[in-house]
Structure formats: structure tokens, C-alpha cells
């Protein structure tokens, strides 16, 4: 199939679903579907670092926050100007331009944050890297908490709603295709070689620092885009949405599905998001169940539910023992 045909069909399908979905499944389920989509973007992108490159980051929520707040403030403060410049377009196109501007800014800002965090911290290994990324995520959150122009501890309200099913799942598709293509190219093999054996990878001419930073930046950019979509859907942002527990949940998604597998990340994102919603009425008990489930999966099936199994071609096994 020609690539442009695929994308054309995808766009048409998404547009058709957007126009009918909310009526079909109701506003509440529609919202869950959106959340699932955003979590898929986050999980698949995080998998690039944690699953393929083998670096353990637990600071994804930080980049998610950078994207969300960047996009929201661009649209909130610069929106009127952009609308003015595009006044000749119909409303829906103006919205699209605004959202795309927000997404673009979010990707750039989160990418820069990823680069700034990645360069120094990727010299560290394993647990140290994990705790430093967690620390960076928390620093970002505390910084946001202290910037009054974006709401500080009150939260950022009044963000225009621009994203919807169409946009979220368009980005889901782009994320999945991008990560899939990337891991099946020389870049992906370089990432995996670092995960398998960093010293051997260096000896074979893989500039491990460069590739690690690269996977960090790409992953952060997608997290930023997810943030933009989130803010422009919920119309309100609060630093507490970006606590390190958010990063924990993302880790859980990719681990439950199986590290280093795109399908696994998708499955994990869907399962975790839906399960948490379905059991919402049980209050704290749902999270008790959920955490016990997580512990049991890790004890009885550490390779995740899908493990090394993949739907698409080239299979990549679970990460090597350390």
C-alpha cells in the first residue's frame, strides 16, 4: 500500500469517528478513549528510552508537564494574535492552526528539556539515572508551581479546548509509526545494542552518548506533544497531574505489556487506563488491587503480559540480564 493512501484513509477514518464517536459511546466513555490515547503516546515514547535503549527513566511526567504548560501558555497568551493573523480561515481551521502551533512549541520545549536533562544524566547508569530523572521531573514540577503566569499552585485554567479524538489518535498513529520505523532502522539497532551491551556497542563504533541523548530527546518530544493534547482537552492544568506517580504509572504500563515492544506499551496503556477507570467506584481499594496485581505480574511474569511477542515483524526479546 502506498504510504499516502494509508494516511489518507487514516485521516478519513479518524474524521468520521470523531464526528460520530461521542454520540455513540457517550461523553464519559469518550473522555476515557481520549485519556487512553494520550497514555498510549506517553507509554510508546517512554518505551523508546526504557525498553529499547535500556536506560531507566522515571521522569517522563516532567517532559509531559513541560509540553502541556508550553502549549497552553502559547495558546492562552498568543492565541488572539494567531487567530487575528488567520482570521480569513474558517473557525475549525483556526483551531487547527492554534493546536498545531501549540503542539509544535510543546515538542520543541520538551525536546530541549530532554536534551538538557539527558546530556548530564546519561553518564549515570541504572539506579542513579533513575533517581536523577525522577529528581528532574520533580524540579520541573516545583518550578511550574512557582510561576504565577501559568497559574502556579492554583492551576492553569481557561485553556481553550482544541484537541479531540481526531487529533489525539492522529498523533497516536504518528507516534506508533515513528517509533516502529525508528526501532527498525539503524538507529533502533544502535539503541538496542546499547541496551544489550554498552561496551560492545561503543567498540563497534556506536556513539552511545549521542544515541542515548537522541532517544531521550525524541521520547521527550512525544511526551511534550501528549502534554499539549492533554491540556487542550481538559482545559485545565495543575502541577499535581505531573507528580512522579504519573511517571510510575507510565512505567507500569510499559512493564505490564512487556518492555521493548510497541504492542506491549499500547496494551499496557489501554489496560491500566481502563482498569483504573472501571474500578473508580471502589476508591482506594482499586489501587490496592492494582498494585497487588502489578507485584504479582512482576513476580510471576516479569517479561510482561506480551513479553517478547510482537505483532509486527522483527521481534525484539526482553532486555538482557544485568
Amino acid at each position: 500500500m502506498k504510504k499516502w493512501v494509508f494516511w489518507l484513509v487514516a485521516l478519513a477514518a479518524l474524521a468520521a469517528m470523531e464526528s460520530s464517536l461521542r454520540g455513540l459511546i457517550g461523553a464519559y466513555n469518550y473522555q476515557i478513549v481520549i485519556l487512553v490515547g494520550i497514555n498510549i503516546i506517553l507509554a510508546v515514547s517512554l518505551n523508546l528510552i526504557n525498553g529499547y535503549t535500556g536506560q531507566f527513566s522515571i521522569g517522563h511526567a516532567g517532559f509531559y508537564a513541560v509540553g502541556a504548560y508550553t502549549s497552553a501558555s502559547l495558546v492562552f497568551y498568543g492565541g488572539p494574535a494567531i487567530r487575528g493573523a488567520t482570521a480569513f480561515l474558517p473557525q475549525i481551521a483556526q483551531n487547527a492552526v492554534l493546536l498545531l502551533a501549540g503542539i509544535f512549541a510543546a515538542a520543541i520545549a520538551a525536546g530541549i528539556a530532554g536534551w538538557a536533562v539527558g546530556i548530564p544524566s546519561l553518564r549515570l547508569r541504572g539506579d542513579y539515572l533513575a533517581i536523577v530523572t525522577l529528581g528532574f521531573g520533580e524540579i520541573i514540577r516545583v518550578l511550574i508551581l512557582n510561576i504565577d503566569a501559568i497559574g502556579g499552585s492554583r492551576g492553569f485554567s481557561g485553556i481553550p479546548q482544541l484537541s479531540n479524538f481526531f487529533w489525539v489518535y492522529l498523533v497516536v498513529l504518528i507516534t506508533v509509526v515513528t517509533v516502529h520505523n525508528l526501532v527498525n532502522s539503524s538507529y533502533g539497532r544502535a539503541f538496542i545494542s546499547i541496551r544489550d551491551d554498552e561496551i560492545a556497542a561503543e567498540a563497534m563504533g556506536v556513539d552511545t552518548t549521542r544515541y542515548k541523548v537522541m532517544s531521550f530527546v525524541i521520547s521527550s518530544m512525544f511526551a511534550g506533544i501528549a502534554g499539549s493534547l492533554f491540556g487542550h482537552y481538559t482545559m485545565y492544568l495543575h502541577p499535581n497531574s505531573f507528580l512522579f506517580t504519573t511517571s510510575f504509572y507510565l512505567i507500569i504500563m510499559i512493564v505490564i505489556g512487556g518492555l521493548g515492544s510497541i504492542e506491549g506499551a499500547i496494551l499496557g496503556a489501554v489496560l491500566v487506563t481502563v482498569l483504573l477507570e472501571v474500578f473508580r467506584e471502589f476508591g482506594a481499594f482499586r489501587l490496592v488491587n492494582f498494585s497487588i496485581l502489578l507485584v504479582l505480574i512482576m513476580i510471576y511474569r516479569p517479561q510482561g503480559l506480551l513479553g517478547a511477542w510482537t505483532l509486527f515483524r522483527p521481534r525484539k526479546a526482553a532486555p538482557a540480564a544485568k
Binding site: A130, G135, N146, A284, V288, N289, S291, I292, V295, M298
Partner: protein, 353 residues
């Protein structure tokens, strides 16, 4: 100048509480190479145990606000938390390492108990739920479901995250999500030393922490078990070959670390009496930062790290922006790791090629 000295005292007492938690992190990391994310929640558990013990009517009426009641509450909470630490080790971390039994039964029992509470709201329904859960788990195990031997430390880290989430949410279910107020178990007086005005709580926190650290040092340096702990943390496999029962030493390490965390929980609750099931999250993380800062695996390092973090926070709140308080520990962490990755007292390691 007086305020500065006052701040220094505050910093030291805050820091010594962090140090108590950090010690547990560092010891567990020493023997298992695991960031025990659940450790901060053991600290919370300790505070709650203290709360419940102090509120036992018999204790309240007999001992009231006295040294005896303080000692009873403290020791009781430490022992209960040590038990929790051993349970966590036994049913969450050990199954991937050594052959164990009843893992499923345990977790299903917990699930059943939670379900029982949700459905029946009575003690009987909780017990019934637990019994059903244990039976189901035992049958599943009897059918041949066995833990997988763990090859990666990542799985263990995620188990730790899971246990941490479990304790936080289980705490919300068992203790209630609303904050509670820790009773005054020791009398408060003001001590005036020269120009300094110290309240007795802070002095007690400081003295008790120091005493516990001395006790710990004696255990680790001068007892047989302590020697075995050091051997395990130097090389687990070699220690096993030398005939050390490593599982027992690891369990002991968890017990010791958890008891110290519980002590930390109670001491901090004396200063800041508001306790809730999520109270362990931030102090836990900061204590871990303190452990890394001091060089993870190093006991004196954890003490120094805790003091530095506590001092830095108190100074930042006293002389700068208190809203940045939660970020300070992490900023220090990032700087230290970039300048000296092994921490202050840690040893660098050379990877064999």
C-alpha cells in the same frame, strides 16, 4: 545570629529524621542493590502504628504524657514496622530470588481482606475475605503456579514501586485518607541555653536519632549478624558460599531498616503531628536522595547525607523561598551526582571488560 543558630538546630533535627530513613535505604541497597521505594511508606506505617498505640485507652490512662508512654509507643511501632519490613521482603522481594512458598496465598489473602472490608465493613467480613483469598492463592500455588527466577534488577525495582503504591493505597483504605493528629506523648517545655530558645521536642528528636545511630553502628560493626550483613553487602554470592544464610540476613536488614524508619516517623510526628497515608512519599524520596548523596551503601554516608539535606531545606525555608523546598533535595542530588557520581562516602566501581 540567634535565628541562624536556631535554624541550625532545626536543620539538624530535621536532618537526623531524614538520616534515620536514609539508613534503611542504604542498608537495603547494600544487600540487594535495590531502591526500596516502599521504604518511605514504612515510615508512614510507623507513624500510624505509633498513633494507634498511643491511643490505646489503657496506655492513655495509665501512662499519659510521660517518658514511659513515649518509650512504649516508640518501641512498639518499631517492632510492628520491623514485622512489616520482613513481610515485604518475604512476599515481594524474595520470591524472585529464592524458592519461597505461599506468595500467592499471602497476596490473595490481602486482596480478600480488602474486599471483605469493602463489602461487609465488619471484622468478620475482613477475616472471611482473607480466608477465602488465602485458600484461592494456596490452590493456585498447589496447581503449580510458581514465581519466575528474576534475572533483571528492573523487575525488582518495579515490584518495589508496586509495594509502595500498595502501602499508600492500603493505608488510605485501612487508616482512612483524612489526616490524623499524633498525640503528645512527651511533655513540651522550653529550654533556654544562653540566647537560644529550644523546645524540648527538637532536643529529644535529636538525641533519640543520635542514640539510634550509635546502636545501629554497634550492631553493624561489632555483632556477628552485623558482620554477616557487611559480608552480604560486599558480595552476596560469596557470602552464601561461605555458609551465611543470606536470606535471613536480608530479612534482618529489612527489619532493622524498617524499625529505624518507624522511629523516624514517630520523631517527625512529634514535631509535625499531622499524619496521613501519603506522608511518607516526599520524606521517603528525600531520604533516598540523602542516601545517594552520602554514597549509597555507606552507613555514615546516609547520616551525613540526611543532615545535609535537612539543613539545606531548613535554611532554604528560613532564608529563601519556601515554595522551592521540595526541589532543593533534588537540586543537590543532581549536582552531587554530576560532580561525584559515587556520592560523598561511596566507592567508585570499575567495570571489568
Amino acid at each position: 545570629m540567634e535565628t541562624f543558630l536556631q535554624q541550625v538546630i532545626n536543620g539538624i533535627s530535621q536532618g537526623s529524621a531524614y538520616a534515620l530513613i536514609a539508613l534503611g535505604y542504604t542498608m537495603v541497597y547494600g544487600v540487594l542493590r535495590l531502591i526500596n521505594f516502599a521504604h518511605g511508606d514504612v515510615y508512614m506505617f510507623g507513624a500510624f502504628m505509633g498513633y494507634y498505640l498511643a491511643n490505646i485507652p489503657w496506655i492513655e490512662s495509665r501512662l499519659g504524657t510521660s517518658a514511659a508512654s513515649a518509650v512504649f509507643v516508640m518501641l512498639g511501632a518499631m517492632i510492628l514496622s520491623a514485622g512489616l519490613g520482613i513481610l515485604i521482603e518475604q512476599f515481594a522481594y524474595r520470591p524472585g530470588r529464592s524458592a519461597t512458598r505461599f506468595t500467592l496465598a499471602f497476596w490473595f489473602g490481602v486482596l480478600g481482606a480488602g474486599g471483605g472490608q469493602l463489602v461487609g465493613q465488619t471484622f468478620a467480613s475482613v477475616v472471611l475475605g482473607a480466608v477465602v483469598g488465602i485458600a484461592v492463592g494456596a490452590v493456585l500455588e498447589w496447581l503449580g503456579i510458581r514465581p519466575v527466577r528474576q534475572e533483571s534488577r528492573l523487575a525488582l525495582l518495579i515490584i518495589a514501586i508496586g509495594v509502595s503504591l500498595f502501602l499508600e493505597n492500603g493505608g488510605q483504605q485501612a487508616f482512612g485518607a483524612d489526616p490524623k493528629f499524633f498525640p503528645q506523648i512527651i511533655p513540651t517545655t522550653s529550654l533556654n541555653i544562653g540566647p537560644l530558645n529550644l523546645d524540648s521536642q527538637r532536643v529529644i528528636v535529636l538525641l533519640v536519632s543520635l542514640a539510634l545511630m550509635v546502636v545501629l553502628t554497634v550492631i553493624v560493626q561489632y555483632t556477628k549478624t552485623g558482620k554477616a550483613m557487611r559480608a552480604v553487602s560486599f558480595n552476596l554470592d560469596a557470602a552464601k558460599l561461605m555458609g551465611i544464610n543470606t536470606d535471613r540476613i536480608i530479612a534482618f536488614t529489612f527489619a532493622l531498616g524498617s524499625a529505624l524508619a518507624a522511629a523516624g516517623g514517630i520523631l517527625v510526628s512529634l514535631l509535625y503531628p499531622r499524619i496521613d497515608p501519603l506522608m511518607g512519599v516526599m520524606p521517603g524520596l528525600k531520604a533516598f536522595v540523602a542516601a545517594v548523596l552520602g554514597g549509597i551503601g555507606s552507613i555514615p554516608g546516609a547520616m551525613i547525607g540526611g543532615l545535609i539535606i535537612g539543613m539545606a531545606e531548613v535554611m532554604a525555608v528560613g532564608y529563601g523561598q519556601s515554595t522551592y523546598r521540595d526541589a532543593i533535595a533534588f537540586v543537590i542530588l543532581v549536582l552531587i551526582l554530576l560532580l561525584r557520581p559515587a556520592g560523598i562516602m561511596g566507592k567508585g566501581m570499575i567495570e571489568k571488560v
